[in-house]
Subunit: 297 residues, 4 copies
């Protein structure tokens, strides 16, 4: 397929590279041009403007958040103005449910298509084509995109015909991971102060009822207090929890655990630790227990 790819950060870089490797003609755009040049070495066509990345059947956006997606979509030479009628904007960024709805309406008005296809996985999974793709949109729009999704991920889940439902699933998924982090933080503060070795404890958990990747990944980081470098920064965690709460606001769904998480992330950021991995909120339970912590007191 002939496609564009906008956003070559930690995640987008790997996704775009895999699309190139699979034989697609991929025109890549990044605000900082150097990153596009690097991909050009692997066979991608570097674009100098957003519009240049919109010449194919689809353009994928993989950006930091609402603001960045709005910037490349709206405006005189944005995606809306540049994409051909009948072509599709594939939004893979973690954005708000509200923006996803607005994008769907705007592209429909412009005679274009829109699908949301956020992904689960950290940068290593993006590089290794091991992402999980959570897609939503009209079947006739989604079906032709199957080869793209199969290239970047290990499996694709179609949520519904409403694009924004995929964003909702993505945000709720991050909420669930943050909940795992908080619960591990409290549990480890408790057993640790009670004389149990945290690493041994995490080993017991992940060998029994909690043999899921989320517990394995974060349990280790928390037990070792290994919050740098950030795989996913606390500031981004705060952003996502706020988006989940905003979705709850709009749908009128109170999320008390979500509120607790928001306060934890805000505490971390307020104390100057927004650049640590988001699992650092787990250290706050230890701080409150007086157990001391290098990073969050």
């Amino acid at each position: 397929m002939e496609i564009g790819f906008i956003g070559l950060g930690n995640m987008g870089r790997g996704m775009a590279a895999n699309l190139v490797k699979a034989g697609h003609h991929v025109t890549v755009y990044n605000r900082t041009a150097a990153k596009a040049e690097a991909l050009a070495q692997q066979g991608a066509i570097p674009a100098h403007t957003v519009a240049d990345a919109c010449r194919g059947q689809a353009v994928v956006t993989m950006l930091a958040g609402d603001e960045a997606v709005e910037e490349v979509t709206y405006g005189e030479h944005g995606i809306l103005a540049s994409l051909a009628a009948g072509a599709t904007h594939v939004s893979s960024s973690t954005i708000s449910v509200g923006l996803s709805k607005r994008l769907a309406a705007a592209h429909t008005s412009a005679g274009q298509h829109y699908v949301a296809a956020p992904v689960f996985g950290r940068p290593e999974a993006a590089a290794g084509a091991k992402l999980f793709v959570v897609a939503a949109g009209e079947p006739q729009t989604l079906d032709p995109l199957t080869p793209l999704f199969d290239t970047i991920g290990q499996r694709t889940f179609v949520v519904s015909e409403q694009p924004h439902t995929a964003n909702l699933v993505k945000l709720s998924g991050n909420f669930l991971i943050a909940s795992v982090i908080e619960s591990l933080g409290e549990a480890i503060a408790l057993v640790g102060k009670g004389g149990v070795d945290p690493l041994h404890y995490v080993d017991i958990l992940t060998s029994t009822l909690f043999s899921a990747p989320a517990y394995q990944t974060y349990g280790g980081l928390i037990a070792r207090k290994e919050f740098e470098p950030a795989g996913f920064a606390a500031t981004l965690g705060l952003k996502d929890i706020k988006l989940a709460l905003a979705a709850g606001d709009e749908l009128r769904v109170p999320l008390p655990l979500g509120s607790l998480l928001r306060d934890r992330f805000l505490t971390l950021v307020a104390n100057g630790h927004g650049d640590l991995d988001w699992s650092a909120i787990a250290a706050l339970a230890g701080r409150d227990a007086g157990s001391g912590s290098d990073h969050s007191a």
Copy 2:
């Protein structure tokens, strides 16, 4: 080995049966004698008093909580008064950290041994010898018990030499499971009101980042609102969360998520639903979102 087994409820029954099957001489006691008779058919020796169950090298207690364990341990004809010097009380019940400490001290004073060996797993796992045993105690006391643990469980973890640390791990484990339930309840309330099918949602979660037994078991129950019959009743969930908070009190470890869980269980029980499965707390998020619920409004 020659052992006693006290407490033949949903869990104890399966554990005792497996010990018999493995060739141990097991004397079984239960307050309601009929349950002991049933096991006698399988080769156990029914005891008419607690003291009768204390004639061997070890006696296992698997009871509902602190009160029941105190009742069989203390008193004129209790375990303390009946167990031979050098024999061991293996406490597998989910009890408080405080009681576990008192039991350790009392048995030591009486020239007996004490280990804590609570288990993870639901009644099916007890029947199938698939429990996880979390043991703690002095090595010379624990070592000879290895065959017993290997008989009732699929794997044994030794936490430390302090028996009460095993109880702490067990309580923290139940706290973690309850945290999974609460987080799934909120997430399902959110995506459900947003138009995503709950069962499909749980399938996505458990196929990706949350492929752990806890998410599989409880995700399904919550998505189907299948809270009866209870595998583990809400009243017991409340009891265990209160024990975790009490441990936090004693160790001075605030557990804000634990506090939220306590309030959820208390709400369920206050509204007459204490006999539902403890996963029914998940329905409270939906109730607060106005989504309606048969069980908890």
Copy 3:
């Protein structure tokens, strides 16, 4: 003074009437013109457009929230476009800290002045000139407005020279009142289920340590479950708590009690009770305790 007054709702009506009564030349504007006509009977000059209300030395806005204030301020014939250089926009609405900052910057750019002067008090206090005015802005702008503030309120407090700090104080004040409501709701649920008469209880409280208006007003409403008609609707309570949390977000101040309040208001609104008085969140504690409640189950 020659002034304009925009927004003749429950609060604005009384404030404008008092300004007229005190001898000021008051041009009044309301989206629904009928309300302006009613005030004309008392001596006010009805305006047909926002611009008509901007001919004097100052224009006061007393509207429902950010959106309404933005609507009359910006736009081709809004306050910014209509107010004379050197004249002042007095913003008395309960708006966000963020909007207050933007308004200050916009008016300064336009060569105009801006002060924030939100008020504490319910409609009866507005009618009786018993409001408390919480003002902030540059002294040379505020000083000439003293007679206006003295006319509508019983006392004026100047917070600082930064207008938005008055909005922050107003929002935090509403947060404090909502906290009183929640705490009374929980306390009354507790003592009520324990056999104490709620009205007698509130009488004890307000005769001793809690002899403040907030406890007297809301204690009575809660004890009598008298949530209709609303003096201040739950939807507005939700709006204000969200603004307080947004201010906390921007300033990086976690507000856990604020988060609890947000969830309470959201629950009320999600269950179709947004039109009740905001004190109805107090009934949720009783609902969770299984005490039954007509309004919020």
Copy 4:
């Protein structure tokens, strides 16, 4: 009247002195005898044993908590064993609802009477006879005690005929005060970081909607971060909130704000600040906001 008085701490000392001054024959007992000697100078009769303080028509206990009250009541030479038939135990300590019920039952069994009469007020109020007495018990038992209550307090409220309801009101009152402290802590953290002077802020609050003693007393302490010396220590605050939650447990009333307060007090105590005034929990909001604090980081 001929009465005994047990417990001469900060509160009891002033209460007993006022009873002596009013002409009653007061036999005083304190575990540390020196305090009784001091009161003897003012006309009290020092007792050397609990039993000696139980020879009159009534004995008042004003002790630190459940344990202390149980110690003087039960046991071979305790109040139960020493008080005459028909005489009354007046329990003024802040104790659990559960203990108050047990005391009522025990005294009834012994042919004695029991009333609960906890008080509101700090040591200065006890010395100045300005306490508020919250009493509960059977009318025929309470009536003759009226002169005592009138002597120690400025006003007496009778809650109901069930003694424990007075304890419930007392505990809920302390919960309400702690709620005021928490809400002020969050509000001051918010406005303070936003550029408002905390003392000026408290002045505005207490001049308007919050003109109650609780806001005046604690607002000042919090704004000035004046947490030493403690008028009422954080450890006692923790004790009382836990008793309120325990009452909620027994009555099945979830108290989410109570849970938040418990975690705050526990955090303070865990970090070695249990001897500060209980208003120091207010500084935790500032700590979480990164505002720095000498006492609680």
